[in-house]
């Protein structure tokens, strides 16, 4: 039996990101293409960061999910170009992220402020929704997150930084 791209996509929507389980790999914008040829599904994925340690796990999870759906011939292809950007994260993904307690990335215009000691401001606290927040560190619990703190409710929180 052959599958359409749309069917494969709907299967991949069930594969979650190993580090942020509320997001699927489609929400994250990691899946770049699906090529069907001779019953072989070639899933083209791209890493968020060069050293993203989740890539091997994501490839494995995709194979397991498709196997579960009856697709045995699966190939995982990694591409680096064009480089992944948070602009590819779906709107529903951003909402899920927020509900999970991680501030979603702003649009790419709010990318890293290259000016020294200057920070991206106005990041909304996912708990109390105040925008009176401050950067604690550009580097957080995973490569894709920065550490912020809310000046009002005082809670520290992760911000999925623009990339």
């Amino acid at each position: 039996m052959t599958y359409t791209k749309e069917q494969i996509l709907s299967f991949l929507a069930e594969v979650s990101d190993p580090e942020i389980p509320v997001l699927s790999i489609l929400d994250m914008g990691i899946v770049r293409d699906i090529i069907m040829a001779d019953e072989m599904a070639d899933i083209v994925i791209t890493p968020t960061y060069s050293g993203c340690p989740a890539m091997d796990a994501i490839g494995f999870d995709i194979k397991m999910k498709l196997l579960e759906k009856g697709i045995q011939k699966v190939k995982i292809t990694h591409v680096l170009h064009p480089a992944w950007t948070t602009d590819w994260m779906s709107e529903s993904g951003k909402q899920k992220l927020k509900a999970y307690g991680i501030a979603p990335p702003q649009s790419s215009s709010a990318r890293i402020n290259r000016l020294l000691f200057d920070e991206v401001t106005g990041i909304e606290c996912p708990r109390c929704h105040s925008v009176n927040t401050k950067l604690l560190s550009e580097f957080g619990s995973t490569a894709c997150k920065a550490l912020y703190q809310c000046n009002d409710c005082k809670e520290p929180f992760d911000y999925f930084k623009c990339h």
């Binding site: 050293g51 680096l80 020294l116 957080g140």
Partner: protein
């Protein structure tokens, strides 16, 4: 390993520099001065390790196509000896104190940013893709390390002294970045003045200065290293040397 093709050597040089400084930074894991900075330096380590994997994978592919060999990213990282490594001497120098660790990162990241901007325009699409991907991460490394140089240089008497010592120690290892090896494909002389301006601007704000007319070490790019690399490799390669191909 047949390295008659100079391009292979260039790819390995890029991979080795990223890997070796990553391995050094990785030593800070759980030993950083405070938790946030421990996390920062290990995040940077991960980026650099990722870069080196991309370069090794590509080098392995090109080597195998040319020589019919069966190299992988792992054989290149774990099964080559000290004289085969082409990283900058700067990358292998010990961490010392925090001043030395962040100054080494600062000097290297500023160089990497300029070099990768050039490589991102390469006709080799795969090399350009790796460089482009890395550049997004490197701008964070440059910003973070520049801020630390200023914070410590223009900090207390003690931190200023330590920064001064770190710069005096590391500076003689910066000249090598601009000395062309047979395999270099970028005109490094062009990068030198831009790099110097960039570094000097930050040092000035940090109330520090560039040491005058120092002797410059070289050799790393052609496999002649300081005594530090052997120890680093012994630790990094031990498991794969003892149990080749071990996985877990």
């Amino acid at each position: 390993m047949n390295l008659k093709n100079l391009y292979h050597s260039f790819l390995l040089h890029l991979a080795d520099s990223s890997l070796i400084i990553a391995q050094r930074n990785g030593e800070c894991c759980a030993h950083g001065p405070i938790l946030e900075q421990d996390i920062a330096i290990t995040n940077i380590t991960l980026d650099l390790l990722g870069q080196s994997r991309n370069f090794y994978q590509y080098a392995a592919q090109r080597l195998n196509e040319a020589n019919g060999s069966s190299e992988t990213e792992d054989t290149l990282a774990y099964h080559r000896g000290e004289r085969d490594f082409k990283n900058f001497l700067l990358c292998e120098l010990p961490n010392g104190d925090w001043a030395q660790t962040i100054t080494r990162q600062f000097l290297f990241s500023c160089f990497q940013q300029l070099l990768f901007e050039k490589l991102s325009k390469s006709n080799d699409e795969h090399l350009a893709a790796i460089a482009n991907k890395s550049l997004k991460e490197i701008q964070y490394h440059v910003k973070w390390s520049s801020e630390w140089v200023i914070r410590l240089g223009d900090g207390t008497e003690e931190s200023h002294e330590r920064m001064k010592k770190a710069i005096d120690y590391l500076w003689p290892y910066t000249g090598e970045m601009f000395m062309p090896a047979t395999y270099d494909i970028i005109n490094l002389e062009d990068l030198k003045s831009i790099w110097l301006n960039k570094v000097e601007a930050v040092l000035q704000e940090a109330t520090l200065s560039v040491p005058a007319n120092t002797f410059m070490h070289s050799g790393g790019k052609s496999g002649v290293h300081t005594e530090h690399l052997g120890f680093l490799l012994a630790e990094m390669q031990y498991l794969q040397r003892t149990y080749p191909g071990a996985e877990w």
